[in-house]
Amino acid sequence: MNSIDSTPAKNSLLSSEIGSERTLYPYVTGTSVIGIKYKDGILMAADMGGSYGSTLRYKSVERLKSIGKHSLLGASGEISDFQEILRYLDELILYDNMWDDGNSLGPKEVHNYLTRVMYNRRNKFNPLWNSLVLGGVKNGQKYLGTVSMIGVHFEDNHVATGFGNHLARPILRDEWHENLSFEDAVKLLEKCMRVLLYRDRSAINKLQIAKITEEEVTISQPYSLKTFWGFSAFQNPTKGAEGSW
């Protein structure tokens, strides 16, 4: 799909004799994920599209998953790598539960574990091609962080991946504030998702919003946003740039 060449010479230096075993480019990808802190916890939104290059091939991909009792994970990028990450986390949570001792891994611990995994894979030149958003609440403390495919990680009040960084975060920087009510937070997320729908070609109009609070995790059923394409600015799109399409 992509026109990146894999040079054989480079491969032989970095691969085993079996053949190249490093991820070179993603195949089936998900687009932006947005996460915000609100009064009672964390809200995350992601659409349900899995693109195969420029084709919108899969339209029911769940990109938001709950992890253990206290965390929510959203991923963009290669879907198969996301599934691999879910397997790692499944094992992690399993061993944590097997201790059966009243302690449990919170969002902070899961975020750091993921950071270590992503960074170590990147160091082996075999990255998990994902950008992750990890949010949760434990003992009243809200936590929201992100990890990229090269292991860059940080926490913030609002995070996004991919196009969301360019289109959604400016909106959030202006309109996010501490102690958003649930309704206001959903409205804010939907505003961001709508902009992404208009402007990101890999976005589809079928999304899920996930909520995590101290008490529970809920991931909504898929739904779509109302759109309006009659804006005058959309009428003659090449007006200011003759020759483009």
């Binding site: 201790w99 302690n103 611990e109 975020h111 003992n139």
Partner: protein
């Protein structure tokens, strides 16, 4: 305990179902100098008696900081104690690195207990050339241990040190005792080492109050317990070490000078109490001839 033909090897059971080497290892703990621990809801205090061999030498270190939220006091073969402390520190720091979060004490204690049974280093070497058998043992309390036993060579012995592990985690303050047999128990207060029975008797009298004690009261009780093990010898800060960990207070060994001041303040209080009791008794004797009822 007397010598018998089943006690040379840690890999040999006696007909009565005992592992004598493990029991002898526990004897080593009893010979070490005393260490005590006690805890309240928010703090845990560890104290140990450190006697130097001679006036010219320094004391042996018996209390180790394992992490900001965990510390241990040992009794027995202090060399083994150092090795174990290094392992504990390593486990804590690895956990902190991966999860950015302190390792819960309960989990560290279980890992340490399992180590007493799994001679991990032996597995790789012993695997091919020597017979390796795996036995599943069920303990009396229903817990089971996987005991990897090398049947032809045994160059591993049980650790000859008992550890009092003091730590803080999400569920509060904890004190555990890990013994060479691989067993561990949680305690409100405990004492190990030589003449620890005297300290245990003191702690048994007072343990019900510990949960609600303040930090200062806990330290005071720790010092009194140590005093009990000294059997009349004078308690000074040069022969004991005290360490504390608590909510908002990382594990630290209390400064010798502070301990000496505390000891002195307790002693003056004690003298005052004794004096008041004496005076009270004296007054009682004066009054009684007057107030005594007539014998009929």
């Amino acid at each position: 305990m007397f010598r018998n033909q089943y006690d040379t090897d840690v890999t040999t059971w006696s007909p009565a179902g005992r592992l004598f080497q493990v029991e002898y290892a526990m004897e080593a703990v009893k010979q070490g100098s005393a260490a005590i621990g006690l805890r309240s809801k928010t703090h845990v205090v560890l104290a140990s008696v450190n006697k130097a061999n001679s006036e010219l030498s320094s004391h042996q270190k018996k209390i180790f900081k394992v992490d900001d939220h965990i510390g241990v006091a040992i009794s027995g073969l202090t060399a083994d104690g150092r090795v174990i402390s290094r392992y504990l520190r390593s486990e804590c720091i690895n956990h902190s690195f991966t999860y950015e979060s302190p390792l819960p004490v309960g989990r560290l204690v279980v890992q340490l207990a399992d180590k007493a049974q799994f001679p991990l280093e032996i597995l790789n070497v012993g695997h091919k050339s020597f017979g390796v058998g795996v036995f599943l043992i069920v303990e009396a309390d229903g817990r089971f241990l996987l005991d990897q036993v090398c049947t032809q060579r045994s160059w591993k012995r049980p650790y000859g040190v008992g550890l009092l592990v003091a730590g803080l985690d999400e569920s509060g303050a904890h004190l555990y005792y890990n013994c060479p047999s691989g067993n561990y128990f949680e305690y409100q207060a405990f004492a190990i080492g030589s003449r620890s029975q005297a300290a245990k008797t003191y702690l048994e009298r007072k343990f019900e109050t510990f949960m609600g004690s303040s930090r200062e009261d806990l330290i005071r009780d720790a010092l009194f317990a140590i005093k009990e093990t000294l059997q009349g010898e004078k308690l000074t800060s040069s022969i004991c070490t005290v360490a504390v960990v608590g909510v908002g207070e990382p594990f630290n060994i209390i400064n010798q000078k502070t301990i000496q001041e505390l000891i002195e303040s307790f002693e003056t209080k004690e003298e005052e109490v004794v004096e008041a009791a004496d005076q009270g008794a004296a007054m009682q004797e004066d009054r009684s001839p007057e107030g005594a009822p007539m014998d009929i």
